[in-house]
Symmetry: C2
Subunit: 131 residues, 2 copies
DNA sequence: TTCCTTGCAAATCGTTTGCATAATG
DNA sequence: CATTATGCAAACGATTTGCAAGGAA
């Protein structure tokens, strides 16, 4: 389980840390490729998987078919725009208490939850204004 | 967008209504195939997609790589066992109020959310007892 | 007859993996 | 030197789709 550093892994993480929009592996690939043209998609996937296993980044399975990655590993919730599909960080009060609500009357053990909010992002909500 | 009835679609929905365990397309396929050996996987997928678009069934994207289907379209939450991967319906109080929590301070519009709870199901929790 | 639906197979898409080579400690 | 990481391409699993033939209205 020991690992050696590699320039590609460092580039991938560095790039991810500059982004707030939770890019997909493909986006990471095409961008990192600008600095290192020979990097392969497989390497990008391997490192994204490794980094998320190490807890250095977060893998988001939004259910839209492609995984998204987030270098912000602090606990926070996400919002997905129904129109433009943008993934946005939400700054909100903790809702971890829903675990207790779920646990009430349940025979097993609730250890956690995953929640995604949907709707119109600021930009798309603005455009659909009929004011 | 008008549609005609078909024996295969009816079989698929009927089967789904007998299940509480949120089967995958593959499970639906192998089971329905017992009654109609010539049915194809493509037809199963087409109908599952159509039925969920019509709102007659629910498609669950649990993020485990395969979609699950649920004939129970009433609002309810799901639990996924970290050990045996079973998908279980939760009977719990509504947590829809988390939408308001998310909306506070958010410039866009929150229209809804999707939540999945994780942990140990009753059976797996039992087995790991060290009592 | 019209046109929706099927079965079949090929095609997609995102992601993973085997292998020989290159880079790291 | 012992190993881990890489590039490349092939392999994968789930789902979709094109097409000619079958079935419902």
């Amino acid at each position: 389980m020991t690992h050696k550093r590699s320039r590609q892994r460092e580039l991938i993480k560095a790039f991810l840390m500059t982004r707030r929009d939770h890019p997909t592996a493909d986006v990471v690939y095409s961008r990192v490729r600008q600095e290192m043209p020979n990097i392969s998609l497989g390497t990008v996937y391997r490192n994204l998987t490794l980094l998320s296993e190490l807890g250095e980044i977060q893998r988001l399975r939004l259910g839209d078919g492609t995984d998204h990655f987030d270098a912000d590993t602090s606990p926070h919730n996400h919002f997905i725009c129904n129109h433009c599909k943008a993934v946005i960080d939400l700054e909100m009060e903790s809702i971890d208490s829903i675990d207790k609500v779920a646990a009430a009357g349940f025979q097993g053990e609730i250890e956690g939850h995953v929640t995604y909010f949907y709707g119109s992002c600021p930009a798309c909500a603005e455009h659909s204004q009929i004011s």
